[in-house]
């Protein structure tokens, strides 16, 4: 069958596009290269919902940012996505930086950002006692938030799937051919193919590669790596707002921020890199430490529970690329979606629908559209609710992850959801198992067992994360040939 729309990539941008499309009577498929959604840039970033004072007034970025942050408020509530709205501070260490703060404020006003204020040093310290006494002042933006980005993407993708969108995983598009006067055939690395009248290119750092399969080169992705520390929840209240430093040409600088799940995140640096390399380096981590301590001198990195890095999909142009590709009718690029891309995602999804409408796609709204999502998060419940829940389903009474108090019931829920996990980290991202201070040391073997049993996976096929990330080499002596 020919789909109306094929979305390449299920990061937060592809997921948002699919979510917007799922409101209409269309056949839509998402083609995801990895074995899970949001397995690249979306899973490794600061998780900030920006208020909107950063982008150049009049840019697509400014427009998407402002719309996106408003939409996020409602979406996160409806789709049960962990989010907090602590506000942000851009701190200045000198008079020159105070000028930058003023410029940001003015830009914010032009962009239509509300609830901003320029603070002096003592106001800043009264709000955030852990900040450096060197700080001269700051821009306060009350409408900035922190979201768990991975879950945001999952919630959008899952809702799209519940509304009829199809998700194909391990479908790594490496060939696209035009078919007749409209439509495309998309082939995967392993030889599968689908056809679709319209194509959305949301392939993140690979959007240039995908674009070039059907159209003359029009932009280039310049992958840029950012490294982070994720700190124990004991540090989660060190600062109560997102603390930025003044932006430079390289980006928004090193931030220190509470996360939506109660940890503290510290980073990133900015290093030109490769599309697929997400390692961390000593020099990168040292840089992050130095700059973070400039804002928060008392930061204790011994409370780090994990380092990670993500790759920004920067492009060689100064704005997001959201448009139909030249010489490729019905082929929409969503490229170079760097920060504030996460914030902009739902607005980009809506824009995408507008572009498809213009390109000739017939849109008819569905009568029934599921726009809510609810999941059980045991640890957030009251004692009475917990008691009630365990009575109904005893599996909520078995705690698997002791650091984060995640129950077997929640893991089983995830394994039976519209987009079930196929890896240990897939469960981790959905439920939080192994995200705490022991990093899965205790719950790892139990999660492996539940995954193997529930998803009928043999130990040979058990993966930590992406395809090929096998966890077990074999069985112990005397067991070979046993039916494990």
């Amino acid at each position: 069958m020919q789909y109306d729309v094929a979305v390449i990539g299920c990061g937060v941008i592809g997921a948002a596009a699919a979510y917007s499309l799922s409101k209409y009577k269309l056949s839509v498929t998402i083609l995801e290269a990895e074995n899970d959604v949001a397995d690249a840039t979306t899973k490794a970033n600061s998780g900030i919902l920006h208020a909107g004072y950063d982008p150049e007034p009049g840019s697509i970025m400014a427009d998407m940012n402002i719309k996106g942050v408003k939409m996020a408020k409602e979406l996160c509530k409806k789709l049960d996505v962990p989010v907090k709205w602590p506000g942000s501070l851009v701190v200045a260490f000198s008079d020159a930086e105070m000028k930058t703060v003023k410029q940001l404020y003015d830009r914010g006003i032009k962009n239509g950002v509300k609830n901003m204020e320029i603070l002096n040093g003592s106001q800043v310290h009264a709000m955030e006692p852990a900040l450096s006494t060197e700080i001269k002042g700051a821009l306060l933006a009350k409408d900035a938030g922190v979201v768990y980005p991975w879950e945001y993407a999952l919630a959008l993708a899952e809702t799209a799937v519940r509304n009829g969108v199809e998700l194909r995983r391990n479908f790594k598009v490496n060939q696209i051919t035009k078919q007749g006067k409209d439509g495309y055939m998309l082939k995967s690395e392993s030889g599968d193919f689908v056809t679709a009248k319209y194509v959305i290119n949301a392939a993140g750092v690979y959007t240039d590669f995908i674009h070039n399969l059907v159209a003359p080169p029009a932009f280039k992705i310049l992958p840029n790596r950012g490294e982070y520390y994720l700190m124990d929840k004991t540090e989660g209240n060190l600062v109560t707002r997102v603390i930025f430093q003044c932006p430079t040409e390289k980006g928004k600088g090193v931030l220190v921020s509470p996360t939506a799940r109660g940890n503290l995140i510290v980073g990133p640096n900015a290093v030109d890199g490769k599309k697929d390399y997400t390692g961390v380096t000593r020099s990168g981590l040292d840089y992050v430490e130095e700059y973070a301590k400039k804002s928060v001198p008392s930061l204790d990195l011994r409370a780090s529970i994990r380092n990670f890095a993500g790759v920004r999909a920067n492009n060689d142009q100064n704005d997001f690329i959201i448009r139909e590709a030249e010489n490729a009718k019905g082929f929409i690029d969503l490229a170079g979606i760097k920060s504030p891309g996460l914030t902009s995602a739902p607005a980009i999804g809506e824009r995408c629908v507008e572009l498809l409408d213009k390109a000739g796609l017939k849109l008819e709204a569905k009568k029934v559209f599921i726009d809510t999502r609810k999941r059980i998060k045991f640890t957030d419940l009251s004692v009475a609710e917990k008691q009630e829940l365990v009575k109904k389903n005893p599996l909520y009474g078995r705690v698997i992850c002791r650091c984060e108090t995640i129950t077997e019931g929640e893991i089983i829920d995830a394994l039976r959801a519209p987009i079930p996990p196929v890896s240990v980290d897939g469960i981790k991202r959905r439920c939080g198992t192994g995200m705490g201070r022991c990093q899965g040391g205790f719950c790892g073997p139990r999660v492996m067992e539940i995954l193997m049993n529930e998803a009928h996976i043999s130990y040979r096929d058990l993966v930590m994360d992406k395809t090929g990330s096998y966890m077990l080499e074999g069985v112990t002596k005397g067991q070979e040939g046993d039916n494990l």
């Binding site: 520390y229 994720l230 697929d276 390399y277 997400t278 390692g279 961390v280 380096t281 000593r282 990168g284 981590l285 990195l301 011994r302 780090s304 529970i305 994990r306 380092n307 990670f308 004692v383 917990k386 008691q387 365990v390 009575k391 005893p394 599996l395 009474g397 078995r398 705690v399 002791r402 650091c403 108090t405 201070r437 022991c438 990093q439 899965g440 040391g441 205790f442 790892g444 073997p445 492996m448 067992e449 130990y459 993966v463 930590m464 994360d465 992406k466 395809t467 090929g468 990330s469 096998y470 966890m471 077990l472 080499e473 074999g474 069985v475 112990t476 002596k477 067991q479 494990l484």
Partner: protein, 427 residues
């Protein structure tokens, strides 16, 4: 739901590892009759269950047992009493008024009350995130204890070409275990100029299998996109900075981390109990009572031990303490002597001694901060008075020290006691 006689226990012990089992049995023997042990695992015995090697019990039982055998002895003792054990049960909260919130699949969520409580949650392993090893994040990086569980309990081989970072005891034990199981252990790499493990484990687990130990080295990069494909190891200078040009690349598919253990004290902290930044455990008195009256702590939850025998001993102290607390037989003499770590001593446990509550003698555990190959002295002083001076031929951070203080020695002591290490020629 709380407050009823049915839900009230003389003693609730959190954790059925060696510390919790010994504590409960001792409290029973001292006369407490309504005792409950709550254990999160599906079996009692704690981490001993996966420690299938021998060498346990040399001090306590005067014989060499495996971990499961050692645990088995205490499980048997507990079975002969009326102690109740709830397995596969998680304690979610311990409150300052000694309510214990627990949950399992059978009883659901319950709030119990303990006239006394003993915290014996054990410890957890430090992870890669805590030490920030650069490189990629592929599958195949395990903490040594997790690998031990996979191998000895679940029956899986985690990998076949293994590099071990850290020379803690579990890492050393796993070097031997993996070798016997058919894996190739390429090397053990230790950041410090000395091993953190017991000498006997260095000899029996590394030397006997020709596994090289690189002291003052560390992993500077982990390689591999999906599964570990290698690691770079470098020598460190005296400031623990990698020395350029000393890179060695290991072709491994697995990295085990044995880089330290940390007492598990989330419940302790939530209960508002005073913690010791040095041990990462609760601050305790001689009978292992914490800052919260009637709440005791013992074993690796208080400080990380090398030998289970001492964990047992500490559990028994806590068990006896809890029994005395509930029975109201405690001496009310309120004198408290503070213990302080002096030269080259990292910490002491207990941190305070109440001479009125101790028996004729009380043990003090501590660790030195550096390796002493020459004979030296442990000096125990209070003000200008030297209470005792003990000679040791050899001391190392990897081997916990124990000294005894007698009631008699403490009789006239009013000031805090300082324990320090002095060079052999000092006297």
């Amino acid at each position: 739901m709380s407050g009823s006689a049915e839900n009230t226990y003389d003693l609730i012990v959190v954790g059925a590892g060696p510390a919790g089992l010994a504590a409960a049995v001792e409290a029973w023997n001292k006369g407490l009759k309504k005792i409950l042990i709550i254990e999160r695992a599906k079996e009692a015995g704690g981490i001993l269950v996966q420690c299938i090697h021998n060498g346990f019990g040399l001090h306590y039982f005067k014989e060499e047992l495996t971990g499961p055998e050692y645990a088995g002895r205490f499980i048997e003792m507990a079975k002969k009493t009326g102690i109740e054990i709830k397995l596969d049960t998680m304690v979610l909260d311990v409150t300052p008024d000694r309510k214990v919130h627990m949950i399992n699949t059978k009883d659901g969520y319950q709030i119990l009350e303990g006239k006394s409580i003993i915290l014996a949650m054990g410890c957890r392993e430090r992870t890669r995130g805590a030490i920030g090893i650069p490189g990629t994040r592929p599958a195949g990086v395990y903490t040594a204890g997790t690998a031990q569980r996979l191998l000895n309990i679940e029956g899986y081989m985690p990998g076949k070409r293994v590099l071990i970072l850290g020379s803690g005891d579990i890492g050393l034990i796993m070097a031997r275990r993996l070798t016997l199981e058919g894996a190739k252990v390429l090397a053990c790499v230790e950041l410090l100029p000395f091993s953190g493990g017991l000498t006997r484990n260095i000899v029996q687990c590394l030397h006997d299998f020709d596994i090289p130990l690189y002291l003052s080295h560390t992993i500077t990069e982990i390689k591999g996109d999906r599964r570990v494909t290698g690691a770079v190891v470098m020598k460190l200078d005296e400031h623990r900075k990698p020395v350029p040009g000393t890179e060695m690349e290991f072709d491994c598919d697995t990295i085990l981390l044995s880089v330290g253990l940390i007492p598990e004290n989330e419940l302790t902290k939530k209960a508002g109990i005073k913690m010791d930044m040095r041990t990462k455990g609760a601050i305790v008195y001689e009978d292992r009572e914490t800052s919260l009256p009637g709440v005791f702590a013992c074993g690796n939850a208080v400080h990380v031990h090398d030998l289970v025998d001492f964990v047992t001993e500490e559990g028994q102290l806590a068990g006896a303490g809890a029994a005395a607390y509930v029975q109201g037989t405690e001496n009310t003499d309120s004198k408290v002597i503070e213990l302080e770590n002096g030269n080259d001593v990292g910490y002491t446990v207990p941190q305070h001694i109440r001479p009125g509550k101790m028996g004729d003698m009380t043990g003090v555990y501590f660790r030195v901060r550096s390796v002493h190959k020459e004979p030296c002295f442990i000096s125990i002083k209070s003000g200008s008075t030297e209470i005792a001076r003990l000679k040791r031929d050899h001391m190392a951070p990897g081997e916990m020290e124990r000294i005894n203080l007698t009631k008699d020695q403490l009789k006239n002591i009013t000031e805090k006691i300082t324990i320090s290490i002095e060079a052999g020629d000092a006297k």
